[in-house]
């Protein structure tokens, strides 16, 4: 797009927006429109030169400042925003549809109603174009988490840690939720380890909202902003895995340090792992299509675990 075709849509949105929000500080307007204050002032200077044919004093759009605040009038012809473009409608509708896949995090009926209204207003952006699966997972866990967040109360849950294949009970003071790769997560202050922890909601086996109020240390709340899904740290152990062509998905699925193509269509994948148990489980799960090459003691641990499992099938050995 040329400069003009980028610029004009902002002006056509700015005019009705200011009519609906008179007396707004220029700095706030700039923030809302994602440009700097000088640009908004230039936009307003330009708008002020425009108006109805004839361009007499009564025909032009009025822009007036009071201190650092700005208002606008005499712009009846463009007092309504231009309808949503495809990318604008898509950005809202597609995101709303993905929310439907996360039951309990938001009020599903509100999403449905908002979608219906937006689709009516946006024309052509119906669920024929973008659609989403409604999550099959039971919404009970997410609802409990949302309730606890809203009422600032403590959660008690039985949580499954796949890396160690253990389920344990812990009390968690909820801080925030987020989603990644289609799964919903809770970041909370785990009272047992007295630290910030991230929990995947579909690994919560049982959950209850307690009557006790949540008590999150202020310092933990700050740290929780950055907490996300597992992000490898330099101190985590570097593991090298050779995967066969049918297991190339490993490189897509896990955060990797580097990936090198191998002869025959396989890959050499290097990734960082915090938990040796996790590596052994990964190695077992990839049995027959990938081999852990390094570190040698983990490679040996995987082989030993495989031999142990094999012994269950061949008790007489």
């Amino acid at each position: 797009m040329s400069g003009a075709t980028d610029h004009l849509p902002r002006l056509l949105a700015l005019v009705p927006w200011l009519l609906a929000h008179p007396d707004t500080p220029v700095a706030d307007v700039a923030k809302q429109f994602g440009v700097d204050e000088r640009q908004i002032r230039r936009d307003l200077d330009l708008i002020w030169m425009c108006g109805l044919p004839g361009h007499g004093p009564g025909d032009l759009i009025d822009v007036f400042y009071e201190g650092d605040r700005v208002s606008l009038s005499n712009a009846d012809t463009i007092s309504k925003p231009l309808r949503l473009t495809l990318d604008e409608a898509l950005a809202l509708v597609a995101a709303l549809r993905t929310l439907l896949g996360l039951p309990g995090l938001v009020e599903t009926s509100a999403v449905d109603r908002a979608l219906a209204k937006l689709e009516a207003a946006a024309g052509g952006m119906s669920d024929d174009v973008v659609s989403a699966d409604r999550a099959a997972a039971e919404p009970g866990v997410a609802t409990a988490v949302r309730t606890a967040l809203e009422s600032q109360r403590r959660l008690r849950m039985r949580y499954w840690v796949p890396a160690r294949d253990e389920a344990d009970e812990r009390d968690v003071d909820p801080i925030r939720t987020f989603t990644a790769q289609g799964a919903a997560y809770l970041v909370g202050w785990c009272r047992r380890v007295e630290d910030v922890r991230t929990f995947r909601l579909d690994r919560v086996l049982e959950i209850a909202v307690l009557d006790e109020p949540a008590e999150v240390p202020a310092e933990a709340r700050r740290r929780a902003v950055d907490a996300g899904v597992f992000t490898p740290a330099p101190e985590d152990r570097l593991v090298t895995i050779d995967v066969d062509p049918q297991a190339r998905w490993v490189a897509d699925y896990y955060p990797t340090e580097d990936v090198t193509e191998q002869a025959g269509g396989g890959l050499r994948v290097r990734l960082r792992a915090r938990d040796d148990d996790w590596v052994v489980r990964l190695g077992l799960g990839l049995a027959g299509s990938a081999v852990i090459v390094d570190p040698p003691e983990l490679a040996a641990a995987v082989c030993a675990a495989a031999a142990q499992a094999l012994a269950e099938y061949r008790p007489n050995g």
């Binding site: 797009m1 400069g3 003009a4 004009l8 849509p9 002006l11 009705p16 609906a20 929000h21 030169m49 425009c50 109805l52 012809t77 463009i78 925003p81 231009l82 309808r83 949503l84 495809l86 950005a91 597609a94 993905t98 929310l99 996360l102 995090l105 938001v106 509100a110 999403v111 908002a114 209204k117 937006l118 207003a121 024929d128 973008v130 659609s131 989403a132 699966d133 967040l149 499954w160 796949p162 294949d165 389920a167 909820p174 939720t177 989603t179 990644a180 289609g182 998905w249 190695g283 799960g285 049995a287 027959g288 081999v291 490679a299 082989c303 495989a306 142990q308 499992a309 094999l310 099938y313």
Partner: protein, 321 residues
């Protein structure tokens, strides 16, 4: 350059106001007189070129420019903007609806979609919708989105055939696809395109993250015919994983194998610290994928072909030492 560009923007804004204001169609000559900015065109040809370019820009922006004549005696066409089609229709959102819309707009992590969502929010606000602040602690995020989402959505909406390069997951081979696009689906955290693959003459599901070129629409609009009663999500589901129809009996050590217990249809306690779970699966390879990570804590009892699949892979692994 900025001066030229802002003068052009000014001319375009005046043109939009003029064409929205007029009830009757205005001829190009009349527009030249009325809209400031055309008067400095040095010749008729220069004006015509500038006006053509402006009309094109307005149409590109989705502004509904109409062409017509005011009476049967006019032989020169005129222009105006259809007011009803120009403006965002009136829209009233309840507070909870506005809250989820605000939340949705902030979910994007990719800049292009995020900016489009922000522009959409400003328009909704300009139409009088007040978007509430985010509920504290609630912050779903979408992964950086595939750049092909928008061009594909456009092709679906316009009913146009689309071509793109696609990398298959299995053998990592890239090939050019020509597809009649039916719709896009968000499925288990990823975007998919469902459509009719012309070269393969069959329904296909494409993962957007494997579309490696920018999809290009080809041919006229409105040629794509969606099957009636098409359920996009169901199509992806049927491709994503043939629904598990088989059931295996798996012996699981007490207090272990939680993932298997969650997926099981029944869990029965047997003796000596073992439970027996009935586990749905698709085929022996799938069952092996499910069970193997648990090592000696999960042992397949039946059926025999599933046992064989697990044992074969364990043997392969144990033999690598």
């Amino acid at each position: 350059l900025p001066i030229v560009s802002s003068r052009r923007t000014e001319r375009l804004l005046n043109l939009v106001i003029c064409l929205l204001h007029t009830r009757s169609y205005l001829t190009a000559e009349r527009i030249r007189e009325l809209v400031p900015g055309y008067d400095d065109a040095p010749s008729d040809d220069a004006f015509k070129r500038a006006f053509e370019r402006d009309k094109e820009d307005l149409r590109d922006l989705g502004i509904p420019l109409e062409t017509g004549t005011n009476s049967a005696f006019d032989d020169e066409p005129g222009y105006r903007i259809a007011r009803g089609d120009y403006a965002l229709p009136d829209l009233t959102l309840e507070p909870d609806e506005a809250a989820v819309v605000g939340l949705a707009a902030r979910m994007w992590t990719s800049a292009t979609m995020g900016e489009a969502a922000t522009r959409a929010l400003r328009k909704l606000e300009a139409a009088g919708v007040e978007v509430a602040p985010l509920p504290d602690g609630l912050q779903p995020r979408l992964e950086p989105t595939d750049a092909s989402l928008q061009p594909l959505a456009e092709a679906v909406r316009d009913g146009r055939v689309v071509t793109f390069d696609y990398r298959t997951g299995r053998d990592n081979v890239e090939s050019r696809r020509t597809v009649e696009p039916w719709g896009l689906v968000w499925w288990h955290g990823r975007w998919y395109l469902v459509g009719h693959d012309r070269d393969r003459a069959d329904t296909r599901v494409f993962r957007l993250s494997r579309v490696v070129s920018t999809p290009k629409p080809t041919g006229p609009t409105g040629v794509v015919r969606r099957p009636a009663d098409l359920d996009l999500a169901a199509v992806v589901a049927s491709y994503d994983a043939a629904a598990p129809v088989l059931t295996a009996s798996v012996r699981v050590r007490a207090q272990r194998g939680h993932g298997l217990r969650r997926a099981a249809t029944t869990v029965t306690a047997v003796l000596d610290g073992w439970d027996l779970v009935e586990l749905p699966y698709r085929d022996p390879a799938h069952l092996a994928d499910l069970v193997l990570p648990y090592g000696a804590d999960a042992v397949v009892e039946a059926p025999a072909d599933a046992v064989d699949a697990v044992v074969e892979r364990l043997v392969a692994l144990a033999g690598t030492r």
